[in-house]
């Protein structure tokens, strides 16, 4: 389990903290989705968990061990795919770990198949569409078998149709791999559809407004169709409720002064 305990992050040049006194648990095997207005520190939160950034106060730990830097047990998929055009991508992590070419090719085929790209094993990455590149990026992160996958708006740059396909795809990969996933998104519908734990962040400074346990993604993984889930009255009413909270943050929150 990854645990953030009362973390605050203040960038050296900024007067106000990006995150203040934020606590959050990420459980193994669960799909945690973070949603919030822009500027609420979602990416900062991911950078903390990935180890790209150290908290100014508080602690980030995995199984009680403090997170001191990036590590192979926490795979990251970025909004821009961050692929390397000059070499193998899916098996890159295996190459870094010193595996032989044969082992790497076998693993690469396995994960390309998992992400539905088996026909593109030898394609140059600039020949792939945005959705395919994002799937390569996902396969690359999965291939080193991390415990957690951290996804920073991985579907943000995709068109609406590809995006819906990728959402279903993510759920299938999540179900098949059993990994703990942490994902950032801007889309309320996406968040509701995918999350087992939906975290709503409030901005300036970034803090947790609410955490909800949801089961829509599990229903999809169990075989229900995406359309039927997304038209479920409970899904629709929850979507409206969260949209309302995002668009009109109410004064039921602790006023900002209380923190200072």
């Amino acid at each position: 389990m990854i645990r953030l305990q009362a973390v605050s992050v203040t960038y050296p040049s900024a007067a106000r903290p990006v995150l203040r006194n934020l606590s959050l648990d990420l459980h193994d095997g669960r799909f945690t989705v973070v949603i919030g207005a822009s500027g609420c520190g979602k990416t900062t939160l991911l950078n903390l968990i990935a180890g790209f950034l150290q908290p100014t106060a508080g602690s980030a730990s995995i199984d009680g061990q403090p997170i001191t830097g990036p590590g192979a047990e926490r795979g990251v998929v970025f909004q821009s795919d961050a692929l390397l055009p000059w070499q193998e991508n899916v098996a890159f992590g295996l190459r870094l770990a010193g595996q032989s070419l044969q082992q790497r090719q076998a693993k690469a085929r396995e994960y390309l198949a998992l992400t539905g790209l088996q026909d593109y094993a030898d394609a140059a990455i600039w020949e792939l569409s945005g959705g395919m590149r994002q799937r390569v990026s996902l396969a690359r992160a999965l291939a080193v078998d991390p415990r957690f996958l951290l996804l920073d708006e991985p579907l943000g740059a995709l068109d609406a149709l590809t995006r819906e396909q990728m959402q279903e795809h993510l759920l299938q990969v999540w179900k098949a791999s059993g990994k703990g996933i942490f994902m950032i998104t801007h889309s309320v519908e996406e968040a509701l559809f995918l999350a087992t734990d939906l975290v709503l962040l409030r901005a300036r400074p970034g803090r947790v407004a609410s955490v909800r346990r949801l089961h829509f993604g599990e229903r999809f993984a169990a075989g229900e169709s995406a359309r039927s889930i997304k038209s479920d009255p409970r899904f629709v009413s929850l979507r409206e409720e969260i949209l309302e909270q995002l668009l009109h943050p109410q004064a039921d929150e602790v006023p900002e002064e209380a923190y200072s």
């Binding site: 830097g69 390397l84 055009p85 190459r95 870094l96 140059a124 990455i125 992160a141 991390p146 951290l150």
Partner: protein
């Protein structure tokens, strides 16, 4: 846009920033620009970019021939193209100042490439080091910036005092001229590495050395190749200066000796040979860049 960046005309850089800027706009905006898809069936008089290049060269040659044929300038100052061509044959077969043209050319090419090789194995690591380490940058940056603007001819006497008049001094002079632009180009390439690529490699378990080997160095390759191109350019221009030092062979030496005896046709022929060799390598490097860095500008 991709087809624009693939089919390169001879005189264009691999990057065509104007084409990239225009690409999102309607084809009509790109009138006069190379865009085979938008032109449709070709009608009337169409000339390719290569054709334009060829016409320019032929035009200049014709002008040269005309000026000498009309005897507008005495042959001592401007010999005719034919005279230069004949001289080329004569020097190639019989030689000039105790060596044939090929021996002069081979000596010069060897000097430039020895210097280039030394520069690549030293300037690229230094460039990477100063790109990654602020302390290394604090050490090397003032050194490089201090000597870079000094013309090689200015420190040539010092090199002769220190290292004598042998081959070492000549190669060293060219090496110093190539080192700075190559180190700076490498530094630039290192700093251009996408942070997300570095982070992605880190989350896949890359060590610091693996980051350099698999992410930073390949990212910098396009800039390093550009640095080599610029370095070769200054290398050739420093060659003549280097061959002022008690040389007995080399294209620069051949031109110098010919100039002293006012053998203008050999001077012009030597200049043309240097230009020919240098541009051959320039086009070779561009070809390498396209072949080995096919992702540049695309991924």
């Amino acid at each position: 846009m991709s087809e624009l960046s693939v089919t390169l005309a001879p005189l264009e850089l691999p990057h065509d920033p104007v084409a990239q800027m225009l690409a999102p706009y309607p084809a009509a905006w790109q009138a006069g620009r190379r865009n085979p898809a938008a032109v449709g069936p070709r009608t009337g008089f169409v000339i390719s970019d290569r054709g334009i290049t060829l016409l320019t060269v032929l035009g200049l040659l014709a002008l040269w021939w005309l000026v000498s044929a009309l005897a507008l300038v005495p042959p001592l100052f401007l010999p005719s193209p034919l005279a230069v061509l004949q001289k080329f044959k004569a020097v190639a077969l019989d030689g000039f100042v105790d060596a044939t043209l090929w021996q002069h050319a081979a000596t010069s090419v060897a000097r430039v490439f020895a210097a280039l090789l030394l520069a690549v194995v030293s300037a690229v690591p230094v460039g990477i080091l100063i790109g990654l380490n602020r302390r290394a940058r604090a050490v090397f940056d003032p050194l490089i910036e201090f000597y870079r603007p000094i013309p090689p001819l200015a420190y040539l006497p010092l090199i002769v005092i220190w290292f004598g008049i042998g081959e070492l001094s000549k190669v060293l002079l060219i090496y110093l001229a190539i080192f700075a632009p190559l180190a700076i180009a490498t530094l630039h390439g290192v700093r251009r590495v996408e942070q997300n690529r570095l982070r992605a490699a880190q989350t896949l378990g890359a060590t610091r050395w693996q980051l350099v080997r698999h992410v930073i160095l390949p990212s910098a390759v396009p800039d390093i190749l550009t640095g080599v191109r610029i370095g070769l350019g200054v290398g050739w221009s420093t060659l003549v200066a280097a061959e002022l030092i008690a040389a007995t062979r080399g294209l620069g030496f051949m031109i110098q000796s010919a100039a002293q005896f006012l053998v203008t046709d050999v001077v012009i022929m030597g200049i043309l040979v240097i230009a020919l060799i240098a541009s051959t390598f320039e086009y070779g490097l561009r070809w390498l860049q396209r072949k080995y860095v096919p992702w540049e500008g695309r991924a």
